[in-house]
Structures are given as structure tokens and as C-alpha cells.
């Protein structure tokens, strides 16, 4: 992934939840902020280029905070896609947040934390913070895990808001060639994240089918192309994966 391994040995103890949150925030302000910041600069630039204003850009980053869905939303909006289709496409683009939340929660859960806190912290779940928490939290005392994750992710959240505004401002100020470079950050960032993340056979297949079907289906049914692509490519890859697993009699993860 984008973040380098941090030396978190078994039994790391920051002393208190407060300290854990601060350490998390400080780590987030390193490499993760640079990579994610660059991507949100790209998002800010995209929003500017599409003709929306800076408050739209900031509102999207503050409330959505899952870049692929945000980019899908802005691109589809710019094409004049119906609201229902946009909402479904954004929902499906971000479906990966479900397995991420399900796997993160057992790790950060601690006694005496009210349920509501988990639902609030859940808004901060996104790829970069999730990867860091899954890697570092198991080594921390239980009471320091949620603070560490929240410190890390909320620092990133602040960085992405600043980066969004910066990208919006830059897009109007720098030469057009540079603006194009900023907007281009989004697709290649996602592409490389996807490539870096692909390990399981059926998901690699889903990504390959999706990459082929996306552009093709757009030529036939532009409004529903993304939904159609995701469900078709995903179901096909899933079925092939199951079939293959069944035939070989064991898992191939």
C-alpha cells in the first residue's frame, strides 16, 4: 500500500488514549497525507473544471470522504445523469467500505465505549486509515486502539479538506496543462491502488472484466453503464471463482 510499514512491535503502549490519538495524527501527517493530499488536490481541480464551486468540493469531501465515490459522483453529475443512477453508482463504488468496517470493528472495540461512538468513528473509515489501523492497532492496548484510529483518520480528513480547496484554487490559477495533470491524478491513483491491492483471484478477474465492460457498456447504456458493469463483471468473476474453487475442492485465496 501507499504507507510504509511503521515499526509497531507487539505490545506497543502509548500510555493513554490521548497519546495514542496524537501519535496516530502525527503518523497520518507523513507519507499518507502526501499521497492522499495529492489525490484530493486532483479532486478539487476536477470539481473546478466541471463548473461547480469550492463549497460543493468541500461539502463532498467532508460528507462523503471516499474519493472514488466522490469522483464518480462529480463525473456523473457533469454528464447530467439521473439522481437515482448517481446514488446507486456511488453506493456500489463504495461498497468496499462494508467489508472494511466489518473487519476493523472487532479490532478497535473496547469495553465502556457507547455504541454511538462507533457509528460516529465509522464515518472516518476509508482505505488509508483502515490499512494503518489494521496494521498498528492489534499491537496496542485495547483502550488505545479506537483513539489511535480516530487520531490518524481525522488528521487525514483535515488534510484532505485543505487539499480539496487547494486543488480547486490551483486549477483556476496554474497553466491549463498543469490542471490536466492534477485531474489525471485521480484515475491513476485509483488504478495503482487497485493494482497494489489485487491478490485474490476472483477479484482480479472482476477488475479485468470491469475494465473491459466499463468503456464498452458506456457506448450502449451511458446512464447505467457503471451499475451494469459492476454487477455483471462482479457476478461473473464471483461465479467463475466459486466454480473453480468447487472443482479444485479448496480455496484459492
Amino acid at each position: 500500500m501507499a504507507t510504509p510499514p511503521i515499526k509497531a512491535r507487539i505490545g506497543t503502549d502509548f500510555g493513554s488514549g490521548r497519546r495514542a490519538a496524537l501519535v496516530g495524527a502525527r503518523r497520518a501527517l507523513g507519507t499518507p497525507s502526501v499521497v492522499l493530499g495529492a489525490s484530493f488536490i486532483g479532486f478539487g481541480a476536477l470539481v473546478q473544471q466541471v463548473g461547480l464551486n469550492v463549497w460543493h468540493a468541500l461539502f463532498s469531501t467532508a460528507t462523503g470522504w471516499a474519493l472514488p465515490g466522490q469522483v464518480a459522483l462529480v463525473e456523473l453529475y457533469a454528464l447530467g445523469t439521473p439522481l437515482l443512477s448517481i446514488t446507486l453508482a456511488v453506493g456500489l463504488t463504495n461498497a468496499r467500505l462494508l467489508p472494511m468496517a466489518i473487519t476493523l470493528l472487532p479490532i478497535v472495540r473496547a469495553p465502556r465505549i457507547p455504541h454511538l461512538v462507533y457509528y460516529l468513528a465509522a464515518h472516518l473509515i476509508a482505505v488509508t486509515g483502515w490499512v494503518a489501523a489494521m496494521r498498528d492497532c492489534p499491537h496496542l492496548p485495547v483502550a488505545q486502539r479506537l483513539p489511535y484510529f480516530v487520531g490518524f483518520a481525522s488528521a487525514l480528513w483535515c488534510v484532505t479538506l485543505v487539499a480539496t480547496a487547494l486543488g480547486f484554487a490551483l486549477a483556476g490559477a496554474v497553466p491549463r496543462e498543469v490542471t490536466l495533470g492534477l485531474v489525471f491524478i485521480n484515475p491513476i491513483y485509483f488504478m495503482l491502488l487497485l493494482v497494489a491491492d489485487l491478490r485474490i483471484g476472483s477479484r482480479i478477474l472482476a477488475a479485468v472484466f470491469g475494465a473491459l465492460l466499463g468503456p464498452l457498456s458506456y457506448l450502449v447504456v451511458p446512464d447505467w453503464s457503471l451499475l451494469l458493469t459492476g454487477v455483471t463483471a462482479g457476478t461473473l468473476a464471483f461465479a467463475i471463482g466459486r466454480l473453480h474453487r468447487h472443482r479444485t475442492g479448496r480455496r484459492h485465496d
Binding site: G64, L98, Y118, G214
Partner: protein, 120 residues
Amino acid sequence: MTDGTVSEAGIWWPFVVMIAGAAATYVWRALGVALSGRIDPEGPAFDWVACVAYGLLAGLIARMILQPSGPLADVALAHRAIATAAAVAAFWLLRRSVMLGVGAGAVTLVVLVLLSGAPG
């Protein structure tokens, strides 16, 4: 693309779209919190959701590069393709660094556009 004449509805409508999008995003996070500990992350339902998510994301990325709707539509397809290849090459050659790959791709695109004269 909007054409500069943004009406009153044109300013508020994007917020409505974004609230819908934010709800469609948050619902997964909340559902994850509610389901954690009760659903098997290794099970088939999970696997299918993940496959659909990956397929959709890959389709979105391919479309953003091959059929961009925004400003990238002004960049020649060959330039987009070369810049994408440069990003992948840099990623593999430079210790699978996403940051260096993204940097190489963006810089390549800017250089190609500059060399070919101003875009549309």
C-alpha cells in the same frame, strides 16, 4: 459539463446530489458497524459484494482514462494511454510505490500535452 450559466437551482442541486451520495457511502460504514461480529467476512455474500465493488471501480477507472467526461477529454487518447503506461511502469520499477507511480503518470501527461501544443 455545465456551461457557465448556473441558475439558482444549479447551485443547490449539486448539494442534494452530494447528500444522496454521502448517504449511499455512509450506509456501508454503519452497516459494517452493525454487522461486525455477526457476519462471516470469508463467506460467499461478502465475496460477491467485494467482486462487484472491484468490477465497478475498475470500470470507472477505465472510463475515466479512455472516455473522460471532464477536462481530460481535450487530451489525445494516445497521450492518456502513454501517461497511464508510464504510471504503471514507474509503479513496478520503483518498489511498487503508488506515490512515485502517480507522480510519473501526471508529469508524463503534462509533458506530452506541453510538447504537442496547447490543448483545446
